[in-house]
């Protein structure tokens, strides 16, 4: 039976569950015989599966990558299997079992290929399929995947025990009970019991129970791009039971999801489809098989789908498709709750769990398992060379992605001689402008930068000299002439300057290229390396190719001006998968394309890592599936660097509940400062999946309240950690600030503000805190000035809460209501009375205006503002000195001379002499710092003049150091009214005085 037929057969099966009975009944005897020791038929079969038949089969495989010779055996095996199948077939029986809660559903293997023809024929059922050696790719028989689903446990312990997903890999006839529950199970600790509420896909292991004889394959991938808008929660979230079907129930089919589904979150749906071998893409194309949508929203996808005639599929339809792939168990309650032991899919081929209760059989199996493993091992022993090296591209075409860049490098090199070589000597002038003498290839590791460089050189007949981080690359000595030897840099210098070597000998086709690899790695020992490199480039007579990872690195800032920058981009996952497939073929690996795409995506464009991973995985099995790759990458993913953002995505993400505690801890601790801030900023955006259906929103609100409490408590812990250096509480802090909140809130992210992108925002606290710091300083200035006016003594708090509202009113109201001159007069009076200056006025108006309040100076005519500035300046000139003036005056930019010769009128009691001394010291230190002062001596003179006229009895302190003016923190520099501008606002108004309010309105 052709694989297609099989598929059909199976598809139909549920409908006609009873269809097979004939076959089933046909061989009851045989079955009995086989199941000799089991009284119970069911049991006997299962034993059979786990034991004998697999053993035989394995042998087959192991033996000859089944040549013709093995065919017989296979047949035998198949027959045996078929018997079993038949035996088992009677569905009703099974159903009964299930009903008892003992077990589960079926298992099925999938076979593809002809080898299996006979067995199918016998056919019967899935079982035979199981029989097919999944793993034996060579056999040509397909990839069966027997994965029974386990689930359960009960009656047949043995099967379960035997379980290690071996079923998957080995495809052995063990069908039934062998549980593999492969996939997600590992991570489900969190919620071991799939509560009906919770989307089953998430909670339950996704058993993908039946293997199905169907041509498998199909590329898969995860397509669906991010979607930025908020999506509605599914209307019937968690209300439907998510079906479990054969692992490749949907193999070869491509889906596009559109709109909101009925009960599944989109992530769940994607996961479901992928786990059943389907492929998901982001947009509809000719290749799309189905558009999954529950409501026709009339969007682009559905429109296009209609054009192309793509079939629409509802969520229920999808479920049906999946369900069809396994035997229907009508009587059965929801999926067997017992999850048995979660089996990791990773160890696909590894030795089976020896715990079978049938010793003999178990042993046999183990042996077989080992033998196949050994075989593999041997095969690999020969090829010790690492794959990235072995499969390094040999021609330009083999470089993945970035073809245009490769081309550019090539062109550049081709043209180089024309522009910079001897030939170009005459017209040197224009050459440099047209083409740089060096290129800078940049990009993440593993994209093939070095390979490209080498390859291009090779193709164009250049000899490449490669210098990388393993060579010392410090500055070259002056005595380069002493010849080669010694420092590498000397060698380089010599090489680039040695014309005879480079070009005179060009005719003798000895052309050289210098490849400076890993230039951003120059540091420490490579003193002056970059500068020297630049010098080299300038004087070089040979082309230089520089390679780095991060072209924005601070170190390379100067270098980049001398190079032609060529940034490598990540190859697409399809490109990578294609190349990986070629390599895998060469190595005799059989891998699902969907698995390769997953791999490509996970390594983030790093081909080298992809190959390394692949090689490593190949040691364990010659056949790899999506789930294997996924499990493998999940396991290794945690060792990679995590950015705070990805850590937060992980913690709060949909799968957040399935992480192990140590994984969570790792994520939370990846950046102890930022992760909590990010979580605090974003937790409100998540719809906790824990809350399930939550119409009123109370559950969510409760979760938020608890989360907020935990975050607040974390803050207290943090105080202990930082202030009292109790670092042993660090874990507790991470727990409170990150893990607990994530545990409450993880789920789907939604958008709270219209138009916001659905990504985590950066923590707002940092920015707010610094604004707060700035405003506090400004307020403190005002406060000090108020104190200096000596008519009031409020605390800073009182200044803000009580004085500012009224002061701002006094300062702005007249400008609105009164005629210009009078208003200006009044305002200036107030300012003077309280020793305030114009900056203080800005501060007051700024701080006293909360968002939502109206800008206090809005609507004041510009003329009035100008007049105000003018009046203020005039006052400044002719009035008596204000005590507050002394503070800023002393820190005038021009006051540096004053610092040397402090005019001090100090009324402090003499007993403070000690302080004064120390102050003097600091005065000197300070004096240097104040050097930014370009203002004239006039100001200084004026300051002194003011002092002398000042009112008697007033206490003056003219020690610049002491009076590190209130405004010290603000950076001075702009052109402020009294020579003490404030540099803080980047947008200094053009007429600083005139439009103090211009800035206000931000």
């Amino acid at each position: 039976m052709a694989s297609g037929d099989i598929r059909k057969w199976f598809m139909k099966q549920p409908a006609k569950a009873a269809a097979a009975p004939a076959a089933a009944t046909s061989t009851p005897d045989g079955k009995k015989e086989e199941g000799a020791n089991g009284t119970d038929r069911y049991k006997s079969t299962s034993k059979f599966f786990s034991g004998a038949s697999p053993a035989e089969k394995v042998k087959d495989e192991g033996k000859a990558k089944p040549g013709a010779a093995s065919s017989k055996r296979i047949k035998e095996a198949v027959n045996l299997d078929s018997d079993d199948d038949e035996f088992e077939k009677p569905l009703p029986k099974r159903a009964r079992n299930v009903g008892k809660g003992s077990e589960d559903e079926s298992d099925v293997g999938k076979g593809r290929g002809k080898g299996r023809g006979e067995s199918n024929a016998k056919g019967t059922q899935d079982m035979d399929i199981d029989a097919s050696p999944a793993k034996a790719p060579a056999a040509g028989r397909g990839r069966g995947r027997g994965r029974g689903d386990s689930s359960a446990k009960g009656t047949q312990d043995m099967d379960v025990d035997a379980s290690p997903a071996k079923g998957g890999g080995r495809g052995r006839g063990r069908g039934r009970g062998k549980g593999d529950a492969p996939v997600a199970s590992a991570s489900t600790e969190d919620d071991p019991e799939p509560s009906p509420k919770k989307p089953a896909a998430q909670a339950a292991p996704k058993p993908a129970p039946a293997g199905r004889g169907r041509g498998g394959g199909g590329g898969g991938g995860r397509g669906g791009g991010f979607n930025f808008g908020a999506r509605e929660a599914p209307p019937h979230k968690g209300e439907k039971e998510v079906p479990e079907g054969a692992e490749d129930a949907l193999a070869g089919l491509t889906f596009v999801i559109s709109g909101t589904l009925d009960s599944l979150e989109r992530e769940e749906a994607e996961h479901l489809i992928k786990c059943h071998g389907g492929r998901i893409t982001g947009s509809v194309s000719k290749k799309t098989d189905y558009l999954l949508a529950d409501e026709d929203v009339g969007g682009r996808k559905s429109q296009k789908a209609k054009e192309l005639g793509v079939k629409f599929l509802t969520e229920d339809g999808l479920f049906d498709m999946i369900r069809k792939t396994k035997r229907k168990q009508s009587a059965a309650p929801p999926p067997p709750p017992v999850k048995a032991e979660p089996v990791k899919a990773i160890n696909v081929v590894k030795t089976p769990n020896p715990k079978t209760n049938d010793d003999v059989k178990g042993k046999a199996k183990i042996e077989n398992g080992n033998s196949s493993f050994v075989n593999n091992g041997k095969a690999h022993a020969a090829e010790s060379e690492s794959w990235p090296h072995k499969h390094r591209p040999q021609s330009m075409d083999e470089i993945i992605g970035n073809q245009s860049i490769v081309k550019q490098v090539q062109d550049w090199l081709l043209q180089w001689e024309k522009h910079h070589g001897n030939a170009a000597k005459g017209k040197k002038g224009n050459s440099s402008s047209q083409q740089k003498k060096a290129v800078l290839l940049s990009g993440n590791p593993g994209m093939g930068k070095t390979t490209t460089a080498r390859l291009v050189c090779q193709l164009l007949g250049y000899e490449a000299l490669e210098v990388n981080a393993s060579d010392s690359r410090g500055k070259s000595d002056s005595n380069v002439k002493t010849g080669m030897g010694g420092k590498t840099s000397n060698t380089i210098k010599e090489m680039i300057s040695n014309k005879s070597l480079a070009f005179d000998g060009g005719k003798s086709d000895r052309k050289t290229v210098l490849i400076m690899d890993e230039v951003d790695g120059m540091s420490g020992g490579d003193r002056g390396g970059v500068a020297d490199l630049i010098a080299s480039i300038k004087s070089s007579h040979i082309p230089i190719i520089c390679i780095c990872n991060d072209k924005y690195s601070q170190k390379l800032k100067s270098l980049i001006n001398y190079c032609l920058p060529l940034p490598f981009r990540k190859p697409t996952k399809q490109q990578m998968a294609k190349r990986l497939q070629q390599i895998a073929k060469k190595e005799g690996l059989e891998i699902e394309e969907i698995a390769l795409e997953e791999l490509s995506e996970r390594v983030n464009g790093d081909m080298r890592m992809a190959l390394n991973q692949l090689q490593y995985m190949s040691l364990r099995s010659r056949t790899l599936k999506y789930t294997d790759v996924r499990a493998r990458l999940m396991a290794s993913a945690k060792d990679e660097d995590v950015t705070p953002f990805s850590a937060v995505d992980k913690l709060l993400g949909f799968d957040g509940g399935r992480l192990r505690m140590d994984e969570r801890m790792d994520a939370a601790m990846s950046d102890m400062d930022l992760v909590p801030l990010l979580i605090q900023e974003n937790y409100l955006n998540y719809c906790p999946s824990k809350c399930g259906r939550d119409d009123s929103g109370t559950a969510r609100m409760d979760a938020i309240a608890r989360t907020a409490l935990s975050i607040a408590e974390g803050d207290i812990v943090n105080v202990q950690i930082r202030r009292f250096r109790q670092w042993q509480h660090a874990q507790m802090g991470a727990f409170m600030t990150s893990i607990i909140p994530a545990a409450y809130m993880h789920g789907r992210r939604e958008v709270l503000v219209q138009g916001e992108r659905n990504f985590n925002r950066f923590g707002g606290w940092l920015g707010k805190n610094s604004t707060f710091g700035k405003k506090t300083r400004l307020l403190e200035d005002v406060h000090v000035h108020l104190l200096a006016s000596r008519i009031c003594e409020p605390t800073r708090e009182a200044v803000r809460l009580d004085y500012l509202p009224l002061l701002s009113m006094h300062l702005t109201q007249p400008l609105h209501n009164l005629p210009k001159d009078e208003a200006v007069q009044q305002v200036v009076d107030v300012l003077e009375e309280y020793s305030l200056d114009q900056e203080d006025m800005e501060t007051i108006v700024d701080i006293a205006t909360l968002k939502g309040g109206e800008g206090l100076l809005e609507g004041v005519p510009a003329a009035t503002k100008t007049a105000l500035t003018k009046a203020y300046k005039q006052r400044l000139g002719d009035r008596r000195v204000r005590s507050a003036d002394l503070l800023p005056v002393l820190s005038l930019p021009g006051s540096k001379k004053v610092t040397k010769k402090p005019a001090r009128m100090n009324f402090m009691p003499a007993d403070d002499g000690e302080n004064l001394d120390s102050l003097e010291d600091s005065a000197e230190a300070e004096g240097e710092e104040e050097g930014d002062a370009e203002e004239d001596e006039d100001l200084e003179a004026k300051a002194l003049a003011l002092l002398t006229e000042s009112r008697p009895g007033m206490t003056l302190t003219l020690d610049p150091a002491k009076t590190k003016a209130a405004g010290a923190g603000r950076g001075r520099g702009g052109g402020g009214g009294r020579g003490r501008g404030r540099g803080k606002d980047s947008s200094q108004p053009k007429t600083p005085k005139a439009t103090p309010a211009a800035k206000r309105k931000k």
Partner: protein
């Protein structure tokens, strides 16, 4: 000049509220010496006014000749040297400072700077009393460590130095310090006192002030005398002549918090909470102290709450306020309170109205 400053009593004799305390203080000074003093009471009650009047009583008018300095102090903190910037107001006889400005480094301010100031004897100048006075503001905001450092200083240098401590809440001052001081509680003036003062001010300014309005202002300002007078002036700026039913001017931040409370009560959702967070940030960034926000917010919420919930909400407000004192990032605690409130209130609404 603002009225609140213009009519501030400069001497103990002229004090209009807390006359009894003023008399006692005067008698105390008359004896020639005085113990350490701890003034505590709500803001706007008149502590600072009393202290200044007291200093003047002690040292005569020269106590009013002050200079303001804002300078960095180099302090040995354990093994390293740190620099602390402090604003001091000082006359020949006294130094006033706010050690809690140094934040978590306040301990070093107390240990080094204050000790240094305390241990130097004042010059023997006319009008001197043989000791000088250190006025420390906001001692309740000092960390516990700093307060402990203070207690030794108070004893050791008491020969040459008197401390006058000033704070809002005595309970946040450790007992050891309290027991070394003469504690003087300055209550909020009674409403009648405030009305009297307002009337006095109005009279001086030649304004006609309807007593109803004065009463409302006193009520509105929560018996905070400073706020009352400022508020009176704000009302005057807004509208004069006064009418009895004139609207009392609320400050920007009060209005803002009222709006906030409205938001919270109208809708309880993550989205709303998110907006509330932004508003809280706005308040905090503009230097409104978090305690004030929380307290005021609670007041506003109380006005709108069903009496059933009041007790519970108060409990949680106190709970989160306590957390806030222990913590550092006030926004987290404020947000947590709002979240808690929303959670409670939402549940209540659903239970009650379905």
């Amino acid at each position: 000049m603002l009225w609140v400053d213009k009519y501030r009593p400069r001497t103990l004799d002229k004090v209009m509220v807390h006359k009894e305390e003023a008399t006692n203080l005067k008698n105390l000074i008359a004896q020639g010496d005085c113990p350490h003093l701890l003034f505590y009471g709500p803001s706007g009650a008149g502590k600072k006014t009393l202290i200044m009047a007291l200093l003047r009583e002690m040292f005569g008018p020269s106590a009013e000749k002050v200079k303001v300095e804002n300078k960095p102090w180099k302090v040995e903190a354990g093994t390293r040297k740190i620099e602390v910037e402090l604003t001091t107001v000082s006359s020949n006889h006294h130094v006033e400072l706010n050690p809690s400005d140094a934040g978590f480094q306040d301990r070093y301010v107390v240990q080094e700077i204050i000790k240094e100031m305390a241990k130097n004897r004042p010059l023997d100048v006319a009008g001197n009393r043989g000791f000088k006075v250190l006025v420390l503001n906001e001692v309740d905001k000092l960390s516990k460590e700093a307060q402990h450092s203070l207690r030794r200083t108070m004893e050791k240098y008491s020969a040459a130095c008197r401390l006058i401590l000033c704070c809002n809440s005595a309970s946040k001052v450790i007992e050891a310090v309290r027991s070394r001081c003469l504690n003087i509680r300055i209550n909020s003036p009674s409403r009648e006192d405030i009305v009297d003062v307002l009337t006095f001010v109005a009279k001086k300014e030649n304004l006609v002030l309807p007593p109803e309005l004065a009463g409302r202002i006193a009520h509105h300002s929560n018996r905070n005398l400073r706020r009352s007078i400022l508020c009176l002036e704000a009302c005057k700026v807004k509208q004069y002549p006064f009418t009895a039913d004139q609207e009392v001017q609320t400050t920007d931040w009060e209005q803002f918090i009222v709006g906030l409370a409205n938001d919270i009560v109208t809708e309880q959702s993550p989205k709303k909470l998110f907006q509330v967070r932004e508003k809280l940030y706005e308040l905090l960034v503009n230097c409104i102290p978090p305690e004030v926000i929380l307290k005021r917010l609670l007041d506003e919420l109380m006005k709108k709450l069903d009496s059933e919930l009041k007790h519970e909400v108060c409990h949680w407000a106190a709970f989160y306020e306590h957390r806030m004192q222990q913590g550092q990032k006030a926004i987290f605690h404020l947000e947590a309170f709002v979240a808690k409130f929303m959670s409670i209130y939402k549940r209540f609404l659903i239970d009650t109205f379905g």
